[in-house]
Amino acid sequence: MKAAIISTAVILAIGQYSCLDQIDLPAPPGVEDALVIQGSIIKSTPSVIFVLVSELFDFTSNTLKPVNVRLVEVMDENGVILKIPEAGLGRYRIEIPDGSPDFSVEFGKSYQLHVVTRDGREYFTNYEPLYELPVPDSLSMEVFEATVVAADGSLSTKDKVRVQVYTSTDIPGMEDRARLKWDVERTYRVTDSPPGLFDPIKVCYLTENVVGANLQVVDGNDRTTDRVDEFTVYESTITSAFGEGMYVNVYQQSISAGAFEYWRQVKLLIERSGNMFEPPAGRISTNLTNPNDPDDDIFGYFYCYTQDTIRLYIDPEDVMSPPPSCPPPGGVLNEAGDCAVAVCCDCLSHLRSTLAKPEYWTE
């Protein structure tokens, strides 16, 4: 983002004649049957093995294309195999209790994924290690003014909030420091304002994954110290979502070097801005291979991690008391008489909304 600001501003500065334009550019022929296999082993209580199989989808669609396959199994370095059952279209999932005699998920062990498709394509990953996780110490929050680039390239300033993590990167018993990845969700309260006079007003708790603009990975081995402090894992403009309180839930993961490289490349790809000094996009690395066809186009990654959760409550007063989400400024109903904002008419309309207050919500 900074690079986009800089390059755009320079060009504007020199002549105020530069442009960022959306264009229609025909995509080259795709790889219609290219598979995407994403899987992970999450050490927890219980541990979970989750695999998602889909096909690439093209630009004319935003629909996922899940694919069922013939076999999904995981092997540990001792040759123990665990078959993963289907849990939905293209989804394979199994929980492994601690101390399970059939298959154990342990720190220091390595695991491999094996997938066979219905048309006979076979894929193996390398053996991915499972590392221990340094426990995060704390989160902090601050409000700041930031320069924002609009779609037309113009610059403006907006108030934003950022959440920063403090954690060690030491892994007990290991020389290498941890490679960390953070997933971030936010859960915020919304009191809806249904249009009907007799419709009950509900208080819901909405959860959203906000990694999109906040994918962060850090290699502890690239740091001067064995700590990561004041590292921003979440940043957002202050909106009405903060109006009734919000919890930012940070899931810290310790991943392998290969997985770290995969996510580093994903981050580079999704944050591309067209800066003239930007490296070109490329094919994301994968640890999946088809031994029968080395040129097979396969995407995705399989890796192991453990994660810890740390949360931070953001009070509306801490972020300059933005107005609540509901009712929206223009009213619950728009000119056509339809609901202007779905969650304001019914806060349960959100995909991950619940009436039950999360157990961690103490505010």
Binding site: I6, I14, G15, E230
Partner: protein, 906 residues
């Protein structure tokens, strides 16, 4: 004339006709006198005083003793027989009154008709009687038996005393001619006698003289400037028929004068922008550093100012080139095929020759534009002996930034400057010393968040010696340093990244001009490189960046070469040479050992070795060079060429354009030198007495060793850079067509290039051939000048080029977290939109009075007249669960007017 002591008569001064005219005339003379106490010389003097006789002889060959003779009514024959009878001398009588005395063996020689004709001419009008329109060269006494003579001349500009290159020197009555060389010299062989010498050069009065030449001789000729000039006089690089006559294929010589009339970005005349109008030369767009020649990378071009190499040839992130057009004398661009004296780059050589300062008069010139200004001066420190030329440019763009609305832009800063100085000293007529220097700096800062700074320093000394009329020597020593820094001021990543490259180059070139047909150059050069690839430092206490320094690298690149230019006949010219290069990568340096040295992987390091100073790895390169020209007629020639080139230093970048801080990387045991074969052939034809020039050229380059970058290569501060590179091969080929009208009220040129540039690298695109980053299938340029008189010039310039390749995503997938990730497969499988642009410039220039002390000109230009939004790059954006969207970044999206004032104080 006559038998005066000054009249030396060579041994070859003998008579043609052994006719008996002597006898007849002899009968009429009766010679009497007592010469007993006189020497032969005194006798001859006395006889010529008393009688109608003329004697030719060399004083030194006559005996010095008194003759002891007296005569009473003796005939001339009797007198001569007695005078010379006791010596080894003989004599011949010619006509009735001429006697030539020479050693007897000379009398036995056969002399050509030319010789006697010349002798008669000298007799009729001997030297010393020439009028103002007559040039008399040589002495009959020095004339060879063949009767042929060689005239060697040097042409000088009356005003500047600069040698004049490319003037046409002809002897119309003999239908022979020559073109003056780079040092102003010409050479013609002709029979003795009377001829007409005609010298023509644009901007100068035609020089016509009656020439009387009796033997080999030298002459300096001063050409006067025209009283009324149709165009500004500069040292013109081309003779009118240079495109036909020139022996080197693939060379483009820039008309320095026309640079200043082209419409340019913000009104600043630019050498590189002008080169882009030539076939085979392109760029990825405004704001890109460098240029591409025949599909090659920007770092595959050797850019030289005199003997100094430039590592960064642009200012302001590529908007301006580093060269001050006011100080340039000549620019040659060798595309692919280059003479053996050049090497070290695969694609091209841009050789910029600076001007000497005026040895006669002082002058000051400059220009003021909207974002940059320039000033230069030149003149004699010691008249005709020592001159200086110096100039500088500076930007002043901050005022423009402060007009912008966003405070961050107002707080930003852009600046550059460059200065050149050249001191030329004519130590004597054979020795010249030139000392020159260049310094430049660029700064860019965005709101104290991010920035670049880079600078170049270059100093050189050149010593030119004329050993004799055939041997010349040119010795030079050059030192240079390029430093660059990238700043990141913000947050926990606040850091600076420094890199630099230094070199010292020593070069000696000897030229042997055997005759007008054969010239041989031989030379040796050695370059010592020292590279600091990167030093990263945190900028403040909050930064978490680890201070790190990559090890310094050093290498030596030494070359010897020999090349010959030979006119086998008037039609067939050959320019061939051989260059041998030895490159050594030296320590001290830590070298890593990988499990698979052929495919280094930083996760597979097995060991490391600390090498001391000394050679770690060396490479040799044998590089033949050949260029042939065959003239089908005076207006048509075909040319062909081949060269083998190697490159031992590369700029590391995988972005669209190199950043100012892109490091220079020397070849190592893992990073092999890049090598190529270059072939080209072409047909060149002029029309209407060289008014129209056309050319059609085809070329091919096969790169048998290159590297490309892995996907997501980490190139910054990487001590294992070799693990990010993949070896491969490449090829470029194409055809270039150009047509040019050189003079007239309406003039200009058009060029078109059809080409392809591709690579094959294991690990990229499944090992299949793919387009290189600089492939542009079609490139078209059109320049039209309308110049109804000296003062006014209107110039149109249109460019079109195919969009260059880009890598598009072929699909997307969603992660568990909801991220929509674009999936890329093939590199460079798509093209960005095509580039085209129209520019206009109108110049109101200097008047007709050349003696006016202050001269000004105004240039009003519009760059990108119809506001074309040319894509610099294309990138794809997406949001969760939304379609991927293609976006283009255009550097310029509107017309850009500029108004520039140029002035000159004479």
């Amino acid at each position: 004339m006559g038998n005066t002591p000054e009249r030396l008569c060579g041994f070859l001064a003998a008579m043609l006709l052994t006719f008996s005219a002597i006898a007849q005339s002899d009968q009429t003379l009766e010679i009497s006198g007592d010469f007993a106490d006189n020497t032969i010389s005194e006798v001859l003097t006395s006889l010529s005083d008393q009688y109608p006789l003329t004697f030719y002889y060399d004083m030194s060959i006559l005996p010095k003793e008194p003759t002891g003779l007296s005569f009473d009514g003796a005939s001339l024959t009797e007198v001569m027989d007695k005078l010379l009878g006791q010596s080894l001398l003989g004599y011949i009588s010619y006509r009735d009154y001429i006697v030539v005395i020479a050693p007897k063996y000379v009398m036995e020689q056969d002399f050509g008709a030319d010789y006697y004709q010349a002798l008669e001419s000298s007799i009729n009008e001997p030297a010393g009687t020439s009028g103002e329109t007559t040039l008399v060269i040589g002495d009959i006494s020095q004339l060879g038996a063949s009767g042929q003579t060689t005239l060697v001349g040097t042409l000088f500009d009356e005003e500047t005393n600069e040698p004049i290159i490319g003037a046409n020197v002809t002897i119309p009555n003999l239908d022979i001619g020559a073109v003056s060389e780079i040092d102003g010299t010409f050479e013609l062989t002709m029979p003795v006698g009377e001829h007409i010498l005609v010298i023509r050069y644009i901007g100068f009065e035609t020089y016509i003289r009656e020439l009387k030449i009796f033997s080999d001789g030298n002459v300096d000729i001063i050409l006067e400037r025209s009283a009324v000039q149709l165009e500004e006089v500069t040292v013109k690089a081309d003779a009118p028929d240079a495109s036909i006559e020139g022996g080197q294929i693939g060379v483009a010589t820039l008309d320095v004068k026309s640079i200043k009339k082209l419409p340019t970005f913000f009104g600043e005349a630019d050498v590189v922008q002008s080169l882009l109008l030539y076939p085979g030369v392109s760029t990825i767009g405004e704001g890109a550093t460098g240029f591409n020649v025949r599909g090659g990378d920007v770092d595959q071009n050797l850019i030289m100012q005199d003997n100094g190499m430039f590592m960064n040839s642009s200012h302001a992130l590529g908007f301006y080139s580093a060269f001050n057009a006011d100080l340039i004398g000549r620019v040659d661009l060798y595309k692919g095929n280059m003479p053996a004296e050049y090497g070290g780059r695969l694609a091209a050589v841009m050789d910029i020759e600076m001007r000497d300062g005026n040895y006669g008069d002082w002058s000051l010139k400059g220009g003021i534009g909207p974002v940059s200004s320039r000033l230069s001066f030149e003149g004699p420190i010691i008249k005709d002996k020592m001159s200086i030329i110096a100039g500088g440019r500076v930007s002043h763009a901050d005022w423009l930034l402060k007009q912008m609305k966003p405070p961050e832009v107002q707080n930003s800063h852009v600046f550059f400057y460059d200065v050149n100085a050249r001191l030329s000293t004519r130590i004597n007529e054979k020795n010249t010393l030139i000392v020159s220097g260049y310094a430049s700096a660029d700064e860019f800062d965005f709101n104290r968040e991010f920035g670049f700074a880079y600078e170049t320093f270059l100093a050189q000394a050149i010593y030119k010696t004329i050993l004799n009329d055939k041997w010349y020597n040119n010795f030079s020593i050059t030192g240079s340093q390029y430093n660059s820094t990238q700043f990141d001021y913000q947050g926990t990543n606040a850091s600076s990244l420094d890199s630099d490259i230094q070199y010292l180059k020593v070069r000696d070139k000897v030229t042997y001009q055997a005759n007008k047909d054969l010239r041989v150059d031989a030379g040796i050069e050695s370059i010592w490189y020292k590279v600091n690839p990167g030093t990263q430092e945190p900028l403040d206490e909050n930064s978490v960046v680890i201070p790190a320094t990559l090890e310094q690298e050093q290498a030596n690149e030494a070359a010897v070469y020999i090349q010959a230019e030979y006119d086998i006949s008037t039609r067939f010219h050959i320019n061939g040479g051989l260059r041998f290069v030895n490159y050594r990568f030296t320590g001290p340096k830590t070298v890593f050992e990988y499990e698979d040295p052929e495919s280094p992987d930083d996760t597979e390091i097995v060991d490391s070795t600390m090498h001391g100073s000394g050679t770690i790895v060396s490479y040799n390169s044998i590089e033949p060079r050949l260029s042939l020209r065959y003239k089908l007629s005076t207006s048509t020639s075909i040319k062909a060429g081949y060269s083998r080139t190697a490159q031992f230093i590369n700029q590391i970048f995988n972005s669209d354009s190199p950043t100012p801080t892109s490091q220079w990387q020397l070849s190592t045991q893992y990073i092999q030198p890049q090598r190529s074969h270059n072939l080209s052939a072409g047909l060149f034809k002029n029309f209407k007495d060289n008014l129209w020039e056309t050319s059609f050229e085809v070329y091919g380059r096969y790169i048998d060793a290159l590297f490309d970058y892995k996907d997501f290569a980490e190139l910054v501060m990487n001590p294992h850079l070799e693990t990010e590179l993949l070896p491969g091969i490449g090829r470029t080929y194409g055809a270039e067509f150009s047509i040019k009208k050189k003079e007239g009220e309406l003039n200009g040129w058009m060029s078109y290039t059809l080409s392809r540039s591709e690579r094959q690298v294991e690990g990229i695109n499944n090992g299949n051939w793919y387009l290189s980053n600089f492939d542009k299938k079609h490139v078209f340029s059109f320049v039209l000048n309308y110049q109804p008189n000296r003062r006014n010039t209107l110039t149109f310039n249109f460019n079109y080029s195919t969009g260059r390749p880009t890598s598009p995503p072929v699909g997307t997938y969603a992660t568990v977290e909801g991220l929509v990730v674009p999936a890329y497969t093939l590199r460079n499988a798509l093209r960005i939109p095509a580039y085209h642009r129209l520019d206009i410039a109108y110049t109101v220039g200097k008047g007709y009075k050349k003696d006016k002390k202050i001269q000004t000109s105004w240039t009003f230009s519009i760059y990108n007249v119809y506001g074309r939004r040319n894509a610099f790059s294309v990138f794809y954006t997406q949001a969760a669960f939304k379609q991927v969207q293609a976006n283009q970044l255009s550097i310029l999206g509107s017309a850009l007017p500029a108004f520039t004032l140029n002035f000159e104080f004479l």
